[in-house]
Amino acid sequence: MVINVQNLVKRYGDLVALDHFNLQINEGEIFGLLGPNGSGKTTAINCILSLLKYDKGTVEIFNKPMSPDAYDIKRNIGIVLQNIAVFNELTVYENINYFCGLYIPQKTKRQQLVKEAIDFVGLNDYQKFLPKKLSGGLLRRLNIACGIAHKPKLIILDEPTVAVDPQSRNNILEGIQNLNKDGATIIYTTHYMEEAEHICSRIMIMDNGKAVATGTKEQLKSMINTGEKITVELYQLDNKNLYEIKQIKDVTQADFSENRLTVHFIKGRHNLINLLGYLQNKDIPFGRVYSEPPTLNDVFLEITGKQLRD
């Protein structure tokens, strides 16, 4: 096991930031910590890394107790912080070389690793640039390169895609998957459920300092009653028809606005057939039909009663 956290409690005065938090991460996983802002993700990471004192519990990394002086453990961890932690006065190359140098003292080996990291994040053309000359996306890539250049076994990425354009985000996510393919175990904290769904092999949903659910995305979705959401383009629908649609089996909610009928179902079978069958029977013409399975937001909503992005 790469990380084993047991009953972690962290308090700030009366506020309980982590409430008997447990976490187990296996080698080779991309583990997602998903939760809204303030749910305790970063606090958990900081406690795991011994950056914060905690009140209770144990943290083990690579089956050894983690502490501020556990330099052997730290040597195998790569950190990509939420805030971009680079020196504004050093060039792209110098920044990566500096952070890699904290882990790798041998100059020749380090030069090779820095080169590989630059290749990995695609910053070859920007090696001599100062960070202030880089766009937001390139800065994020530099931040990642600084965290992973020394080829750690465990990489912790704390919201690495905040305020990044979609293209850069895709590049970053692809890069994370490649790091995982190269053998690194990854912890990925985010409040973007699409990202977690896209890359994580297992996900923990956090709220108020607690783990409210853990599992693969399929396991998480199977925990809830919420089923698919079907949207149908319609020219017109009167209130009587809308009322009757709400009476169809397993429908929990139905709305019609802007020529779109949106129907939410609980878990069940033949929901699409039942809905389209009704429209056909009533001779209601319809256009395109969309069916969306439940998302992690639905999981979070059903478990906590809140939206992930609240």
């Binding site: 700030y12 501020p68 020196f87 050093l90």
Partner: protein, 402 residues
């Protein structure tokens, strides 16, 4: 030594403001040295009083001889015998001394009469005493000749009086020791370093500490396997190196600019001045450290550097010599290290021999400076530690709950 080399690179990239300060301050110090001292203090000049003579007696040989003598040994100012004119001249210091020769003075002088010379002088003027001496000297000599040289004609007497009084005391400035005295401009330059060193070192130290105390970078460094002690050691080493570079540059600049004036100067005095400045560099480094703990941004950095250095310099006698500062302020100045730097500097500058007895006062001043440095470093450590303990984290980073 990644942290050390990064510190030097960072300082190099942010050196512009430091270089601007350096150029400005060096220009300022050169300017101040040129106006604060001139070589007249190394020479001797006879003091001449401005004297006016109002002769209400007849033009006797005695009186003409006296007037000629006074004209030769003072700055003679001709004035009309008018009360208003004479009063104005004294009030506006056009003259220091007005000598009135009353009617019948010559006869009275020869016959031991009661008519005396009269005078009006600027109150409390030292030059009045010089003039009194000069006139008394002339008249005493004249009296002696008139009373004792009965067969001598009056013209010969006057000639003899002038001849006797022409003997002047030759004044030679005595320099103790084998070497020339240290150039005063060089001393003023070193005094100015009491200001410049503090500014530069506060700016340099806080530049490095500002960068490395950024919470995200600090956290990132702490996450690495490099020991915190090693990081702090390399940070200290880099600030120390920077301070030493400043010291070395300023010493070299001093030699480059004032080297030609140091020919024949005692090398031991120059070495002691350098040692004193080195000690003050350590003091400045300690001040830079404590500033680095409190400074949070570039704006406060410049403000703090200027405020602290000016405060220390004005109070410590760098910008205003201690002689011109009130006794209460001087008493308070004992509690700042700059005072002891200037004190040691003055003592070194006036050294004429190098016995332990003459050197020890300067060394004691240097030791007091080192004491200040140790105290300031200790306070910096205590503040740093208490700030860490007051926070919730292992390393003093306040981390948001997220």
């Amino acid at each position: 030594m990644k942290v050390f080399s990064a510190c030097l690179k960072i300082t190099k990239r942010r050196a512009t403001s430091i270089i601007i300060y350096l150029v400005l301050f060096l220009a300022l110090s050169v300017l101040l040295t040129s106006i604060s001292y001139n070589n007249e203090t190394e020479q001797f000049n006879e003091t001449n009083a401005k004297i006016s003579i109002i002769n209400r007696d007849t033009d006797s040989l005695l009186i003409n001889g006296l007037i000629d003598y006074i004209k030769d040994h003072s700055e003679y100012i001709a004035l009309n015998d008018n009360k208003q004119v004479l009063q104005d001249a004294l009030f506006y210091h056009s003259v220091d001394y007005i000598l009135f020769i009353p009617d019948g003075f010559t006869d009275s002088f020869h016959n031991n009469g009661d008519i005396k010379l009269q005078k009006t002088i600027v109150p409390d003027s030292a030059k009045g005493y010089y003039a009194d001496n000069m006139i008394n000297q002339y008249l005493s000599t004249a009296k002696l000749y008139y009373d004792t040289s009965l067969n001598m004609d009056e013209q010969t007497i006057i000639k003899n009086i002038n001849n006797d009084l022409s003997y002047e005391t030759q004044v030679t400035k005595k320099i103790f020791g084998d070497s020339a005295p240290i150039d005063q401009n060089f001393l003023v330059y070193y005094r100015m370093m009491g200001y410049i060193l503090v500014v530069l070192i506060i700016l340099g130290t806080s530049t490095i500490m500002l960068v490395f105390n950024r919470p995200d970078l600090r956290m990132r460094n702490i996450c690495s396997p490099m020991k915190l002690r090693s990081i702090n050691f390399q940070l200290s080493l880099s600030t120390g190196t920077l301070a030493f570079i400043f010291y070395l540059f300023l010493v070299i600049f001093g030699f480059a600019f004032y080297g030609s004036k140091l020919a024949g100067a005692d090398i031991r005095i120059i070495l002691l001045l350098m040692l004193n400045m080195f000690v003050y560099t350590i003091v400045s480094l300690s001040i830079g450290f404590i500033c680095g703990i409190f400074i949070k941004g570039a704006n406060t950095q410049n403000a703090a550097a200027n405020f602290i250095s000016l405060f220390l310099s004005f109070l410590g006698g760098v910008l205003v010599p201690l002689e011109f500062i009130g006794s209460n302020v001087v008493a308070a100045a004992h509690f700042i290290p700059t005072y002891w730097y200037v004190s040691a500097l003055n003592k070194i500058g006036s050294l004429t021999n190098f016995t332990w007895q003459s050197l020890s006062p300067a060394f004691i001043d240097m030791l007091i400076q080192l004491g200040f440095a140790a105290a300031i470093f200790s306070v910096a450590l205590v503040v740093s530690r208490s700030r860490r303990q007051s926070n919730l984290s292992f390393y003093g980073n306040k981390t948001e709950i997220a």
